[in-house]
Symmetry: C2
Subunit: 221 residues, 2 copies
Amino acid sequence: MSKRKTVVADDEATVTAAEREARPPVEAIRAAAFAQFAERGYPVVTVRDIMKACGLTQGALYNHFKSKDELLHDIIASTQGELERQCQQAVAGAGGDPRAELAAFVRVYVMRHCRLRIEALVANREIGWLDAARVADIRRSRRAIRDIVVTILRHGVEKGVFDPPRVDGRHDLKAMAMALLDQCTHVSMWYGPGGDLTEEQMAKLYTDMALRMVGATPQSV
Amino acid sequence: MSKRKTVVADDEATVTAAEREARPPVEAIRAAAFAQFAERGYPVVTVRDIMKACGLTQGALYNHFKSKDELLHDIIASTQGELERQCQQAVAGAGGDPRAELAAFVRVYVMRHCRLRIEALVANREIGWLDAARVADIRRSRRAIRDIVVTILRHGVEKGVFDPPRVDGRHDLKAMAMALLDQCTHVSMWYGPGGDLTEEQMAKLYTDMALRMVGATPQSV
DNA sequence: GGCCAATGTGAATGGTCGTTCAGGAGGCTT
DNA sequence: AAGCCTCCTGAACGACCATTCACATTGGCC
């Protein structure tokens, strides 16, 4: 896919020439768009901005994406899909004990949102700019993750190892799952590697808080 | 910026051009801008959109606000100021017991974010479009609210009525406060009055979760 | 050597934007 | 009644937008 092999010497010796050799232009566009969306926000980043950052002109975008909108969806959907897969794996590997499942889920979820906080930030902040058709599968994935948590909570209650708060005598596991996810998701808004806690410590703290919230009995004494 | 100097009593009775609007134009502009920002987002709402919704033309905006940016700041700052005041009042009226203070804080904070969820949504979603100078006082207010929570937690630990999670033997009360605020703030993203829980029940649930998270001992038996 | 499919160019299209400003209308003060 | 003050209009400004399109340029293939 490289075309500057023979015409390098006198042509525009752009700084990113080596980078474009390394990966296909569609990857470079994705990366440039991600960086700019993260820094300035989707609606104010222009197609010209993105393509100039790759050393191309605006028209070339449309050889790789149908529209600016599809480009944003592509970026968000890929991180969202990865997140969903990681969550499923974490729970599946926990051996069926709801306490271990919840701990594994929170650990993976929090560590990912610390490490890839920019990706999470873009996915959460810019999703509103997607048109209705393209936003549907992202929302489906988020509901799926919420339902993973709800299922863990329900199993824990049924087995008697969780004793979550009740309002008027009943649980609302959906609201609890949302509360849990909200606090874990939004570490991406304030966590920085220069802060007081490492990712590992964040995972421990949030796992502990989650188990307290659901009233988990001690796992083994 | 303010009204007539000498005419006071019948100002409301004989409003100039009373046919048009029942309230001063600056209020109508604020309301229209708020509604449109909430629905479509600051950068895609045009000055023309806002003013057309008030029955005015675009130029008239600049008789009341210096810029579109100042208009957004005005909207966000007013709700943020109200929130900060309500939080302070709630804690001050709790009698000095950290458990009661935390409960009162969470109750007020959650109920407000359920009832005025659109205001909260706009404040949290659109704050990034403010320029650096105008964003400073909003951030100060948010830090102040976080510090209220940190202070409650510290007092609770000192008095021995809270036993929050530790990482490597230490508390991180700032991280705990952020986790607590994150989950309470973002009810505005999903709570709806048609859902399973009333505002009252939401407040109860979140208060209970908060007290569990910090390891509060039973208040009185 | 000639063809093809992929890929990039840069002008053109048909708008839109926030902000400014000269001018007008009407009521308040003197 | 005259002047002033507040508020509004509507045109103008200079810039920028996403997307399309006719037209290169390229590398691989027969």
